[in-house]
């Protein structure tokens, strides 16, 4: 059936249901709202960053229906019914192994690109296609770090890929306590 923005009760806005970090959210959005702006401005999930806003830097990377995408180039209205995971949804009490590995390896300086880097790395590990350092670099190429923390980012991702993360993760937690 053809559904149309003109037929909605509130002119110009469209009902959208998203499951964000496991929680169902029923919203009305203007069709020109990007998923990034919806997350940050409507849902107060400001962990996802707006860097270039043009799909070039990867700071806005989130996982939608199991796939990493640039949320700045996704219209929220097109994602009706989708499951969205943001950086806020990764940890449940303890750090996600990728978060722990980033701390362990000091895989950032200013930290602005970090949520996107971590979301991308989580997806990279789930995809299971990158093994070597060259492959990690290639599969992380959609995430730019202007501080140039790439060497440590690759170290962090490699550690998690090689299964070294769980012990690091607990040691980071202990250090924080």
């Amino acid at each position: 059936m053809l559904s149309d923005s003109g037929s909605s009760a509130s002119p110009g806005t469209i009902p959208v249901t998203l499951t964000v970090n496991g929680q169902e959210r029923r919203l009305r959005v203007a069709p020109w709202t990007t998923l990034l702006d919806l997350l940050r401005e409507e849902l107060d999930l400001t962990g996802t960053k707006k860097g270039c806003d043009h799909g070039q830097c990867g700071a806005c990377t989130v996982i939608v229906d199991g796939k990493r995408i640039n949320s700045c180039l996704a219209l929220a209205v097109q994602k009706d019914g989708a499951r969205v995971t943001t950086i806020e949804g990764l940890s449940s009490g303890s750090l996600h192994p990728v978060q722990a590995a980033f701390l362990e390896h000091d895989a950032f300086q200013c930290g602005y690109c970090t949520p996107g880097q971590i979301m991308s790395a989580v997806a990279l590990i789930e995809e299971g296609r990158a093994r070597s350092r060259d492959e990690i670099r290639e599969h992380m190429s959609g995430n730019i770090c202007r501080c140039g923390a790439y060497a440590n980012i690759v170290d962090a991702v490699e550690d998690v890929l090689k299964g070294k993360s769980s012990s690091r993760s607990s040691s980071v937690r202990e250090a924080a306590e």
């Binding site: 559904s3 796939k67 219209l75």
Partner: protein, 337 residues
């Protein structure tokens, strides 16, 4: 971004009718290029017709080859086992392009329809014959390092940015479309156009026509192929020059040759004479240089892109060498084999 109406199409017919009824309407699928262009005010559609719910998201066997649904994401095509077995050139070209995030969102049909990355096209403060027909082309006398060396006109020297399309040109894919006047098949070479005096039209699609699928013919270039992409950085950059080479070999003799270039023209560039001259010849650097000479005899560089002529010459020779040897360029280890 401009304000627009939003329509979600449930069937192909609904999608086509929604566009046919509204000259200011555009289809949207992955949105990776259209949303970006809307943020720059380069595209200002009055209505977006969302086609992402249409049943065009499968890869199926078809007529001895493969049919790629228009909505299959680039990443899905790139990692599909059948594509990798039968058309590894296409998989390689896809992995040479964009980033994992963009490949997850961008679709097969959308990749065909992405627009040039010419800086003047993207900058609404400057004239551009592609964006505003008749306003002029500052690239001709401006910064034109990334621009065309083949097939340009005196109205536009933009290049087509896709890697996927360069492989599809070499593979002689067929684009299936449906529009207000029914269905038609468009051979890949006729899908994109040269700028001529109408650079605003990138393709031969008419308003309201939707891409249904891209069909790959029943041919075997799975042993002797390469996608060699040369660019300013090793990942996540558009091609300065790229070469899709696909050969059928009899020992060291070339039986069939397909060669398409990216980054050099308004569409993936092929040269029938160069390809026919390769056929029946021994696969030697001299043979490959002759083919490159034929292709580049027509090259017309501008102030900043003359380097592309020599780069293309060497890329053609290297790409054909890789294809003939059965040692395709890796898209992970970027050292050129």
């Amino acid at each position: 971004m401009n304000r627009f109406e939003y329509t979600r199409a449930g069937t192909v017919q609904e999608a086509v009718q929604a566009l046919a009824a509204d000259p200011a309407a555009r289809f949207i699928a992955g949105g990776t290029n259209l949303v970006d262009l809307m943020k720059y005010n380069v595209e200002r559609p009055g209505r977006l017709v969302d086609i992402t719910r249409l049943p065009l998201d499968e890869i199926v066997a078809h007529d001895g080859g493969l049919r790629l649904g228009a909505l299959v994401p680039n990443a899905t095509v790139a990692y599909d086992p059948l594509v990798n077995e039968r058309y590894p050139l296409l998989a390689s070209a896809l992995l040479a392009g964009a980033s994992p995030q963009l490949r997850n969102a961008a679709t097969t049909g959308g990749n065909l329809l992405q627009r040039t990355r010419c800086y003047y096209f993207y900058d609404e403060a400057t004239p551009c014959n592609k964006r505003e027909p008749g306003s002029g082309c500052p690239a001709m006398t401006g910064v034109n390092r990334i621009h065309a060396i083949l097939g340009a006109s005196d109205t536009c020297i933009a290049t087509h940015p896709s890697d996927m399309c360069v492989a599809l040109a070499a593979l002689e894919a067929v684009v299936q479309v449906e529009g207000p006047e029914g269905r038609r098949s468009i051979p890949f070479a006729e899908f994109h156009r040269l700028p001529g005096d109408a650079p605003q039209a990138d393709t031969t699609l008419r308003h309201g026509e939707i891409v249904l699928s891209v069909d790959l013919p029943d041919e075997d270039f799975s042993q002797h192929y390469t996608y060699l992409k040369l660019r300013d950085r090793l990942s996540y950059a558009f091609a300065l020059v790229s070469v899709a080479a696909a050969l059928e070999m009899d020992g060291d003799t070339i039986r069939t040759a397909r060669l398409a270039l990216g980054g050099v023209a308004h569409k993936p560039w092929r040269n029938a004479e160069a390809e026919s001259r390769l056929q029946g010849k021994k696969a030697t650097p001299e043979t490959f240089r002759e083919a490159a000479d034929v292709i580049l005899a027509e090259a017309r560089p501008y102030a900043h892109n003359a380097f592309k002529v020599e780069l293309a010459r060497r890329a053609i020779v290297r790409g054909l060498s890789q294809a003939a040897a059965g040692t395709p360029q890796s898209q992970t280890d970027k050292r050129i084999a």
